[in-house]
Amino acid sequence: MTTDALRATPKVETPLRRFLTDFFASKLAIAGLVGLTLVVLIAIFAPWIAPQNPYDLRQLDIMDGRLPPGSKSFSGMTYWLGTDDQGRDMLSGIMYGLRTSLAVGFGASLLALMIGMSAGLIAAYFGGWVESLIMRIVDIQLSFPAILVALILLAVLGQGVDKIVIALVAVQWAYYARTVRGTALVERRKEYIEAARCLALGDRRIVFKHLLPNCLPPLIVVNTVLVASAIALEATLSFLGLGLPVTKPSLGLLIANGFAYLLSGKYWISFFPGVALLFTIVCINLVGDQLRDVLNPRLQK
């Protein structure tokens, strides 16, 4: 009795349709996608939907500092999630924080993707010493934990949005390079590349028109995972005081601000930004998990 007999006759369907059907088969994945969409929308429209602009000092009242959730301000506004030590509305702070965190996370990952992808494709396509050199660098870098590499870089570079993006890109490009090269190596041996070469198509055309599209599925999966980890890493570094400057508070910085007040029981300053961070990461991971299952050819029945 083999699995052949268990296999149902396949129906004819387009890859995209099949992908969508498979993806939406999981309720958790749908929930993740809905949550993620919500988070992204909040981040984009934060300046229009937030109750106050937490960085406009004229709108802040130091007298409202450290109010618990649900308190009312002098001006009658309700602080649903409380206020921080500056009298800043936490809800607004979180919305603006999401904006920064997501922008840094997505931006850094995208940049890392492009750099890593190019390096991986070059390594796989040209082989030889180019490949050895690139992959050796990748191997060495990946043998060190991301947080350590980022720590060293930030210690060297100092604070700033650009600095943390550089650190995140430096940490992540190697993952993309390895993924792309792995897939591209498999693809390179296949006949259609051989055929394209026989047609004397240019290197660039083969790489970008033929090799790249076939490397996309694993890249998408790795990308979702790495966006989540970039957001988490940025928050961690900001928490340690090595990441974003105080003028650009991400969720990590908000949490760090609340740390000092945690021991006196004022939990909300750290708690709610953390929940927002967690929610974002969980949503991305749920989507990523499902993408991995759907796009993994090994698991396809």
Partner: protein
């Protein structure tokens, strides 16, 4: 095997050299330590004397060459701030970090392997699914935030466990350990749990995936066909097979755990190397930062090496292929 070992050692030496160069160059760029070491009112001559004493007036390459020669003899410079050899400072703090990292790793294995195997044996049961959901959550939870929440719940709200320091330690072979006293145990509980969380999720995943794959293998079915009790099939036949990837990953992860201890140590004021490096970065204590990074790099190379060796002991097939190579 011997050839393989020598090749690995050479490779490690090259990595160490390259890393030393990068670290040295990188750290050299962090501010000017003179600014914080010397009284702001100091005159030029005083500053020059200090520079000279610290060797900061030499050309970069000479500083590096000196650094290399000294490093080879175990001298990684003196801490500007503490005025003791940087390496001594780090070795003083290292036991605390290692104790924390190893306790956390053990926690992850002891809890994670049974949970993951359970989830792998009964993937469709409620318990199996809950374990998996928990592990997804564990992957998503940012370590530092969980640390804060642990403090909030167990230290502030419930008041059960202390949230800072190592507590009472006992000396074993000259090394201070917290896990040997009750007070120390209560102090290590929260930071170790915090650090273990990610590890736990990872081990659960690995154990689950390994178990699911192993139970489909003929050798498991054959073991059952021999009439072995389920307990023996699971704890000998499945367990020994899934252990290989878990040990490999955890071994490699020990370095990551030590690096991540930076976060946990900062939150729980655990006096280990991680807290030292953050403090040193903020104080521009260059020799300590360099020494820390070099030691970490060295540890990583050593760990990777050790994992390879352990791996070959655990998996008899590897020994053969190495001998051939």
């Amino acid at each position: 095997m011997l050839v393989y070992l020598i090749r690995r050692l050479l490779q490690s030496a090259v990595v160490l050299l390259v890393m030393s160069m990068l670290v040295f160059l990188g750290v050299f760029a962090i501010g000017d330590p003179i600014e914080i070491l010397i009284n702001p009112q100091a005159d030029q001559a005083e500053i020059a004397r200090a520079r000279n004493a610290l060797g900061l007036d030499l050309p970069l390459w000479e500083q590096y060459a000196r650094f290399l020669v000294n490093a080879a003899t175990g001298d990684l410079g003196r801490s500007f701030v503490h005025n003791i050899p940087a390496i001594d400072l780090i070795f003083q703090r290292m036991p605390a970090t290692l104790e924390l990292a190893i306790t956390a790793t053990l926690m992850g294995v002891v809890l994670g392997v049974p949970l993951g195997m359970w989830a792998g044996l009964k993937p469709n049961s409620m318990v199996g699914k809950s374990i998996m959901a928990g592990s997804i959550l564990g992957f998503s939870l940012p370590t530092f935030w969980v640390g804060l929440m642990l403090i909030m719940i167990f230290a502030v709200q419930l008041g059960w466990l202390p949230s800072t320091g190592r507590g009472e330690t006992r000396s074993v072979l000259g090394i201070q350990l917290s896990i040997l006293t009750l007070d120390g145990l209560s102090h290590i509980a929260l930071p170790a749990l915090n650090l273990a969380l990610f590890k736990l999720s990872l081990v659960i995943r690995l154990a689950r995936a390994g178990t699911r794959e192993a139970v489909l293998q003929d050798y498991v079915k054959f073991a059952r066909a021999k009439g072995l009790a389920q307990k023996r099939v699971v704890w000998v036949h499945v367990f020994k097979n899934i252990l290989i990837p878990i040990v490999t990953v955890l071994g490699l992860e020990l370095g990551t755990t030590i690096a991540f201890a930076v976060v946990t140590e900062t939150i729980f004021a655990w006096p280990g190397m991680g807290k030292l490096i953050i403090d040193s970065i903020n104080l521009l204590d260059r020799p300590v930062v360099v020494a820390y990074l070099m030691i970490i790099v060295f540890m990583f190379i050593f760990i990777n090496f050790a994992v390879d060796l352990v791996y070959s002991v655990l998996d008899p097939r590897v020994r053969l292929s190495d001998a051939k190579a």
